[in-house]
Each structure stands twice: as C-alpha cells, then as structure tokens.
Amino acid sequence: MGKRTIVPFGPQHPALPEPVHLDLELEDETVVRAIPSIGYVHRGLEKLAEKRDYNDMIYVMERVCGICSFGHGWGYAGAVEGLMSVQIPDRAECLRIMFHELSRVHSHLLWLGLLADGLGFDSLFMHCWRIRERVLDVFEAITGGRVVMSFCKVGGVRKDLTPEMLKMVKDTCDMIEDEMRKTGLVFMKDTSVRNRLCGTGVLSREDIIDLSAVGPVARGSGVNNDVRSANPMYRDLGFSPVLYDDGDCWSRCMVRVDEIMQSLDMIRNAVRDLPDGDVSVPVKGNAPVGDYVFRVEQPRGEGFYYVQGNGSKFLSRARVRTPTNINIPAMTRMLQGCNLQDVSMLVITIDPCISCTER
C-alpha cells in the first residue's frame, strides 16, 4: 500500500471552465476518494422571486445558466402556466420544442468540444465549436441574443418566426448534420479517442439507480429516464430515447452524438409540421395560492421546477433542481479508483454545469 496524499483540484484549473473544488485522496496515482466542495458560484437566485413579479422573474430564471438558458426559461414558464391554469397555443409549444432542441444541439457540441480538449485533441475541439457557431447564428438572427435569448415568456413565446427564418433553421440543420456525419465518426472510430474513453469511468446500471443519476450519464448505462417521452408532442416529432449499455465514457459520448442527430431530425419535423395560430396568450392577475411542478429534459438531464403562489403577484417560492446537482454523487463514485490523469476527463463526462447546480 502506497502513501496517501491529498491533491486539491480547482477551483481554478485549466481543464475546468467553471469553479468547483475537489479534494482527491490519492494512493500512489489512484484516486481512492474524491470530496467535492461547491459554493463558488452561489448567488441566491431563488430568493429573488420575492422581489420580481412572476412575469419578470423569467429573466432571472434564464440566467440560472447561460448554456441551458432556454430550458430554464421554459421550465419556469411551464410551472407558472400550470399554477395559473393557462393553456398555451400549440404553435408556441412547437416553437419551444424547436428552440430547446436547438439548444441541446449547441450544448452537446460544446460538450464534445470540451471533451476533445480534455483529451488533448485540439483540432477536434475547434471543429466541434465551429459547427456549434452555426446554431448561435440562428439564435442571433431570430432573437438577437447568442446565448441568453429571452425568447420564452410566461404564456408562450415572444415572437413568431417568418418563413425565411424557418428556412434558415432547416438549412442550418442540414448543414450541421452533414458536418456531424464526419465529426461524429472521429468520436466513434478514432483509435486515440477510443483508447482513452473506452472502459474508463464505468458506472453500472445499479450505480445509476442507487445514485439516481439523470440525463446522458444514466442513458449511457442503459437506464431510460428521459422526460421527453412523457410529452405527446415530442412523440409526434419522432422522439425515441437514445440508450447505450457499457456505462463508460465512450457510451456517454455516443449518447450525446446520437442525440444531436435525433434532435436535428426533430427540429426539421417541427419546421415541417408547425401548427398555425397564435404564439402566446396573455397571463395577467395574481398567482393563486397553491404550487405546481414541471419537468424539462435539459441537455444534461432532468430539470425540476417548483413554484408556489401565495395570492399576490410575487411567488413565495421558485425552486430549481438541476441535473448536475443530482449527478455529483455519480461523479464521485466514478472517480473512485480512477487514475489521476483521468480526473479532469471524468469530471467533464458528466457535463458539469456548476452555475446551474448552485444557482
């Protein structure tokens, strides 16, 4: 048995875009235990519900995280609409799905880039991010914002899309699919990538169920807990959950690659089948006493939104439980017994979004 040492990892580290701190207990070069400590990004957004009325609060909720911002806006808006018993038009729902899937494409491409960077494969990182910029161009053309769009509002979406915009969305999907056919192959086939990813950080099916992990981490181990299956509109657009069984880094990577392709198909179907009608309904008056829960499948997993009304314009509670929050125990389990060199890559494979976790 070797000597035990503790290596601090973070909060500022070249491999991490965001601050999270891990105490790694090492025996020689093997990690025996990883103790995470968070709180570097905590802001206290949920408390702001007492200062902003429920219509304005969506601007705050969108800024829970800059990557999955649309999903957070949707989750909050969905919860408030449920509380107020508002039925949004089908066209608004379809546009929301379209935008959410576009954000999934950009989030997964961003993650694939970060993974390639973690592997030391810089040109692959550049290619992934180059493709990602196409999605941001669409966002910019339609809403004016690149990452935080403020497109969703309580009661629907803020504006309708013109036929030219819809054509642009479709063309972009075709272009990304073309590029992804080549870039996805690198993750699938390249020996240097596979050597590094296959067999590392294995999480079994039982681990996933024990630790209640969500999102691509769970689906990479063959556990289907995709919230999208519960939404009838998603089924009409051709959704079926992507599952891989190995539970290693490679499976998690392939889940994301396949999800990109599936999302692109769904966006094209949404453009084709977009229902006619209004894109929003007015939501006015005080929020009733009561509460409501709404779930959204974020790129990283299940997002859980809870709102509580108290009969005034201000909510007494707006709670978010984000995917990374639940995936942190899975990450520490994954880190046990891994090599020190793999730590940064394993941390990346759960796609940590610290900003979401701490709000």
């Binding site: 570097y40 905590h42 206290g44 990557i67």
Partner: protein
Amino acid sequence: MSGTTKSPWIMHYDASSCNGCDIEVLACLTPVYDVERFGVINTGDPKQADIFLITGAVNDQNKEVVKQLYDQMPEPKVVVAVGICACSGGIFRDCYNIIGGVDKIIPVDVYVPGCAARPEAIIDGVVKGLDVLEKKRLKLREKEGKK
C-alpha cells in the same frame, strides 16, 4: 518585455457568473473569432498571465480566490471585467450572496458590458487592455530607472 503587447496571455476565471460570458470567452478561441491569430493564449497559470479576464459578480466564497489569483499575477497586469455582472452586479445585484462588481475586490482597468458580452466585445476589451498594459509597463520602467 515588449513582446507581450503583441501576444498577451490571458487567464480566465468565473467568479459566480451564469456561464453565458464564460462560453463567449471560450467562443473567442473558435475558428470563427480565432484570437490565437493575435497570439492570445488562454492560460490556466496566473504566473504566466498578463490579462485577467473575470466574469460574474463576486460572492463571498469566491472573493479570496479572486484576490489570490490577482496577487499571483506578475506586474504589469490588467484586469478586464467581462459582462454586466462583473461591471456592477447586473441582474444579480439584489441577491443575498452577491458583493457587487469585481471592482469592489480588485482594481479593474477595462469594463466590457453586455449580457452576455459578445465575443467581438470581449476581443475589443482585451485590445483596450493592451494600451493600459503598455502604459503600466512604461510607468514601471520609469520607477525602476529612478531607483
């Protein structure tokens, strides 16, 4: 020493931002904006950095880290606050765990507003920071010359 004006090395740290500005800082590295053609490199080591890009309003736990990173950077150094949160606290200024702009903790030389700040604006901020860096370097030389 004059070489650093042509190729500044940047250290980026997220002091409780929402990630929006962080991914825009990273987006500057992509082939679309490609700051590396100017010799700008994103380094993780404060001891090699000339410019400190900081995003997000600072919170209580982050305060010490920001101070420590700033102190570890060699003189002359420039701090660029990216995004409205880093400038003044932005939409988060009412939150209980937010101190305010970065300038309450360390001196800031260039402010880049925006939510989220665009890559063009960030590159512009860094270029402005280079002027400040040059001025600081001249001042430092004069001081050394007088000794």
